[in-house]
Symmetry: C2
Amino acid sequence: MTLRVRDLGEFALIDRLLAVLPYAVRGSDSVFGAGDDCAWWQSAAGTTVVTSDALVEGVHFRLEWTDWRSLGHKMIAVNLSDLASMGCAPRVAIVTLALTGDELVADLEDLYRGAGALAEIYGVVIAGGDIVRTSGPIMFSVTAIGEQPAGQSPMQRSLAVPGDIVLVSGTLGASAAGLHLLQHPLPNATTAGLLIAAHTRPAPRVSLGQALIAAGVRCCMDLSDGLAGDLPKILKASAVGATIRTDSIPVLPAVRAMFRDTWLDLAVHGGEDYELLCTVANGMAEDVIMAAAAVGATLTPIGEITAASGLRFVDSNDQPVDVTPSAWDHFAGT
Amino acid sequence: MTLRVRDLGEFALIDRLLAVLPYAVRGSDSVFGAGDDCAWWQSAAGTTVVTSDALVEGVHFRLEWTDWRSLGHKMIAVNLSDLASMGCAPRVAIVTLALTGDELVADLEDLYRGAGALAEIYGVVIAGGDIVRTSGPIMFSVTAIGEQPAGQSPMQRSLAVPGDIVLVSGTLGASAAGLHLLQHPLPNATTAGLLIAAHTRPAPRVSLGQALIAAGVRCCMDLSDGLAGDLPKILKASAVGATIRTDSIPVLPAVRAMFRDTWLDLAVHGGEDYELLCTVANGMAEDVIMAAAAVGATLTPIGEITAASGLRFVDSNDQPVDVTPSAWDHFAGT
């Protein structure tokens, strides 16, 4: 009766809101895919892919922990990561800034310098967008658009098949470790800068996404909410399960060394790694790993897709490891 | 040295931010147009057009003056209006909601019902988008995407030519009059509902935009910041001037009657009319007016484009009328 957003959570809310839309407005899967990292539709010339992500002060970033240039990098990076997860080439980013008016113009110029530097690397044009006034926390909302040639379908969450190998790029947990170090600075931590940069300036896996789709990978997503939060989205969309070997999860030695008791938790729940998670038929895994290496990316096999539903984590002796499957929810526990 | 956003204003800020971007990132006019109501680019298959507009509580709307369903209508309408101004068919809208968590789910469902009802009329698919948490005012950011067939260039602000007739659709000032009535309710005002609806549920001129481009119109924009604020954007982009006859500006009889001393001010400075403003060669004006009538829209000639720069308002005796050219600026006077 007086159900509030905080009672429902982000993901259930999205489901409820889409449910009140007229059927035609929700679109059909044949021309339009929602529920992936991006919305997309196909026309004669190819596929247009769109994604939108916002950063809110105090929720996604704190100005005492980041500089404006890194923020500019990150607001573009998180959107390019979504496009990369579909395997498509980014073309345009539209920026909307909600500001109080009290911000220093020089800081916002730094924001745009950081955004522009990353956009230039991937040939993305930044369009003007919109600037609106807010009395509350400042917010940067970016919509990025990419394109794929005709005849190529975007990689999707719903295409995992039992027997597939689960692969993850790079390493997991570095971003969460960096966030922890920002919250609880350690003296004499020589590798802290590396981890903090993983959090403040994540690298979108743009080239890797395009290499994966070219190598025939059909199921992929990017890791923004942690492995234990995001992999269930693939499992649900594909109606399958998975077994993940925790010992196989790639984690930086520095993270294991600095977080001896919590590295696994950081790796599976930490979030904001912006690595790619994909599943491929057993017979293609080696070729896909080679294709990733050709663009400088490491892919690590961490488990298999199973016909039985559910996500199980096991150790090197196949014994269950207690990891709670949970996604980062903006309204959880509030 | 400590220049703040409020010192600079919205439009100067956008210019400064775009100026720090690398040249390649800013794009070139041949493949990409910024500075219009939308960003757009052309490929072999046609033109993709993108626009983004945000509504912030307390700035763009107050919950005591509007209902959630109207808000949902308006957040879609203002974006479809931008697409209409380029003459293109809307395809997809991506919604980002910044919420505190305290909102009633039923209210947000009403928001989506309002959005869905308008989207359905124009065949627009609403994609999930993103929901983020904010501690401040709630905000709805919508990005809308449209497409045009190959061989057709979007209508642009920069294509006005001296001698062109300036035409405006519908009537001006109704939205501002409606806002005034929300702020200062009048008893016994039988037409108040009509004016309030013009403010809370503006109609995007989607069919008109497509009719105009099909009729050969090349220069168009939508009126969100008032005639005196928006027309100078066409004049600047086209390096021309204009003379507007205030007696020709179409204003509803109810607005003239209820606002005897201020109707002209409402019509030229009020904003949020979301009517289309276009310029056409003298010889085509009649055909364009007929094409508009065929989709149920009224176009009214209100003046001419001049080679001499500047915007002049004149009365029926060609005497100057004192109207300050000014655009709505989110940071003005703060």
